[in-house]
Amino acid sequence: MTENISKTRKIRDLILNLLMVLSAGMICCLLLGLIGYILYRGIPYVSWMLVSTKPSLLRGTVGILPNILNTLYMIVITLVIVLPIGVGAAIYLNEYAKNKKIVRIIELATETLAGIPSILYGLVGMLVFVQFFSLGTSLMAGALTLVIMTLPTIIRTTQESLKTVPRAYREGALGLGAGKWYMIRTVVLPCVIDGIVTGCILAVGRVVGESAALLFTAGMANELLSVPEALQPGNAGSTLTVALYMYAKERGQFDIAFAIAAILLILTFLINMSAKAAARKLRK
C-alpha cells in the first residue's frame, strides 16, 4: 500500500508530521523551561520572613504579606459581588427569558465584556469607581472593576451547567405545584453547584493573574490592611501581580520578583488542577 506513494509525497508527509510533533514538543519544553527557570530563581528567596512581614525601610527588609492579604481580599470581595449577579443573569437567560431578542443582546454584551482588554477595564474602573463614585484608589475600586471583568466567566459556566439539568426535573417540580423561584432554588440550583464552583475557580484565576486593571484602580501601596480597612474607600493596596511588576520594572529587585512569580505559578497550578477536578465532577 505505502509503496505506491511517490517519494515527494512521502517526504512531504514526513516533514508535516515532524513539524506537528515539533510544535507540540516545543510548547511543552517552553512551559517546562519557564516553570523550571522561575522556580529555580524564585524558590530560594521564598522564606517565612518574606511571606509573613511587610516591607520595612528601617530594617531594609522586604515582605509580601500585604500583597498576599490584598490578593485574598480582592478574591473574596470580587466573588461576593460577582456571584449573585452572574448566577442571577445566567438563571434569567436560561430559566426566565422568553424574549429571544433580549437573550441575544445580553449574550452579545457578555461576549463583548469578555473581549475587552484588561487595561481598558483599568481605565474605565479609574474613571467610574475611583473618580466618579469617589472611592479613591482602593481595594474596593479594584474589586468592582474585577467584578465586571469576571462577570462573563461566571455567567458562561453557570449557563452551561444549567443547560445540563434535565427538563424533567423542572417539569416534575412545577407539576407538584412549586412556584418557579421555589423550583429553581430547591431543584435547579443544587444541580448546578458544581458548575458555579468551576466558574468561581476560573474567576479566582483571573483575579490572581490580573495586573493591568488593578494598576490604576487598586494602586501600588504595600501597607498592611485589616479586613475593615480593606472595605473602606481610599485604602490602596497592590496584589501579588502588581507587586511583581513594581519590584521587577520600577525597582529592579529581581530576586523578590522571581519569588513572587514562583508563588504565582504554584497558585496558577493549584487553580488549574482544582478547575479540572471540578469540571470532571460536573461531567459525572
Binding site: 506513494i5 512531504r12 508535516l16 508530521n17 506537528m20 510544535s23 507540540a24 510548547i27 517552553l30 519557564l34 530563581r41 449577579i85 452572574g86 442571577g88 443573569a89 438563571i91 434569567y92 426566565y96 427569558a97 433580549i102 443582546i105 445580553i106 454584551a109 461576549e111 463583548t112 465584556l113 473581549g115 475587552i116 482588554p117 484588561s118 487595561i119 481598558l120 483599568g122 481605565l123 474605565v124 479609574m126 467610574v128 465586571i148 462577570l151 462573563p152 423561584w181 421555589y182 493573574g209 490580573e210 495586573s211 493591568a212 494598576l215 501581580t241 511583581l244 511588576y245 521587577a248 520594572k249 529581581f254 520578583a257 522571581f258 512569580a261 504565582l264 496558577t268 488549574n272 479540572k276
Partner: protein, 293 residues
C-alpha cells in the same frame, strides 16, 4: 390560603425582576464602558485635530511644545500583533492538528494540560521571564545596545496567544465531519494529506475565529509588553524600542495631567475601537459557523 398564594405570587414577580436586572446589568456595563471611553476620549481628539492625532508621527507629550501623534503606537500595535500571529498561529495550528488527529490519548491529554497551564500563567510572569530571558538573549544574538524592542515583544506575545489559538482551532478541527476524512482516505490520500488538504480547509472558519481571538489578545496585552518592549515612543522598528497602544496608555497615566491625560484617554478610545472591530469580525465568523452547522 389566599394570603399565602398572594405572597408567593409577589415573591415570584420580585425574583423574576431581580434576575432580569442581573441580565440587564451586563448590557449596562457595556454601555457604561462605551460612554465613559467615548466621553473622555473625544475632547483631546477635538483639541488636537483628528488628522494630527491619528497620523502624527511624533509623540512628545512632555515637551515644551507638546506633540500628540499616535501613529507610532498604532503601527507598533499592528506590527507587533501581525508578528505574533505570524509566529504563533503556525505553531499553534500544527499543535492543534497534533492534538486533534495524531496524538495518542495519553500524550494528547498531557499536552492539553500544558496548554491550559500556559493560558493560566499571569501576564506579568510572562513579562518577567521575557525581561530576564529573552531581552538579554536578543541583545547578544543581534549585537544591540538594548534587547528591549519590538522583536522581544513579538516573541512574548506569540507565546501568550498560543493557548487561545490552539484550543479554538482544535475544537474547530474536531468538529469537521468524519465522512470528509473517510472519503479522502478512501481516495488514496495519506492521513497527513487528508488533514492538511481536507480537514483544515473544512475547519477554515473556526481557524479564522482562533486567529481573531489571538489578535484580540495580542492587541490588548499591556503588562508583559510593557516589560519587554522598551517603551520609547518611536516609529516601529523591529530592533528599536517601541511603545504599543496599551503601554502608551499605561506608562504615562500615573503622572499625566491636562491635555496629556486627555490624549491618553483618546488612545484608549482608539484601542477600544480596534478591539470592537476584532469582536465584530469574531461575531460574524461565529454566526456564519452556526449557520453552516
Amino acid at each position: 390560603m389566599e394570603k399565602v398564594k398572594k405572597t408567593v405570587k409577589w415573591l415570584e414577580k420580585i425574583m423574576n425582576l431581580l434576575f432580569l436586572a442581573c441580565g440587564l446589568l451586563t448590557i449596562l456595563f457595556v454601555i457604561l464602558i462605551t460612554i465613559f471611553l467615548v466621553i473622555s476620549g473625544i475632547p483631546a481628539i477635538r483639541n488636537i485635530g483628528i488628522f494630527d492625532f491619528l497620523c502624527g508621527t511624533v509623540w512628545a507629550s512632555t515637551a515644551a511644545e507638546p506633540l500628540y501623534g499616535i501613529l507610532p503606537f498604532i503601527l507598533t500595535s499592528v506590527y507587533g500583533t501581525c508578528g505574533a500571529i505570524l509566529i504563533g498561529v503556525p505553531v499553534g495550528l500544527f499543535c492543534a492538528v497534533f492534538l486533534a488527529k495524531m496524538a495518542p490519548r495519553k500524550i494528547g491529554g498531557a499536552v492539553r494540560n500544558v496548554v491550559d497551564l500556559l493560558a493560566g500563567i499571569p501576564s506579568v510572569v510572562y513579562g518577567l521571564a521575557g525581561m530576564i530571558l529573552i531581552v538579554p538573549y536578543v541583545r547578544e544574538v543581534f549585537h544591540l545596545p538594548d534587547g528591549a524592542n519590538l522583536f522581544s515583544a513579538i516573541l512574548v506575545l506569540a507565546v501568550m496567544i498560543l493557548p487561545s489559538v490552539i484550543s479554538v482551532s482544535e475544537t474547530a478541527i474536531r468538529a469537521v465531519p468524519e465522512e470528509y476524512e473517510e472519503a479522502s482516505l478512501a481516495l488514496g490520500a495519506t492521513k497527513t494529506e487528508t488533514v492538511f488538504k481536507v480537514i483544515l480547509p473544512a475547519a477554515k472558519s473556526g481557524i479564522v475565529t482562533a486567529i481573531a481571538l489571538g489578535t484580540g489578545r495580542a492587541v490588548g496585552e499591556a503588562m508583559a509588553v510593557m516589560m519587554v518592549a522598551g517603551n520609547v515612543a518611536n516609529m516601529p522598528k523591529l530592533f528599536g524600542s517601541v511603545r504599543f497602544l496599551t503601554t502608551a496608555v499605561a506608562s504615562e497615566m500615573s503622572y499625566s495631567s491636562g491635555l496629556q491625560r486627555q490624549a491618553l484617554f483618546s488612545i484608549a478610545l482608539v484601542l477600544f475601537l480596534f478591539i470592537m472591530a476584532i469582536n465584530l469580525i469574531l461575531g460574524v465568523m461565529t454566526k456564519r459557523r452556526e449557520q453552516n452547522d
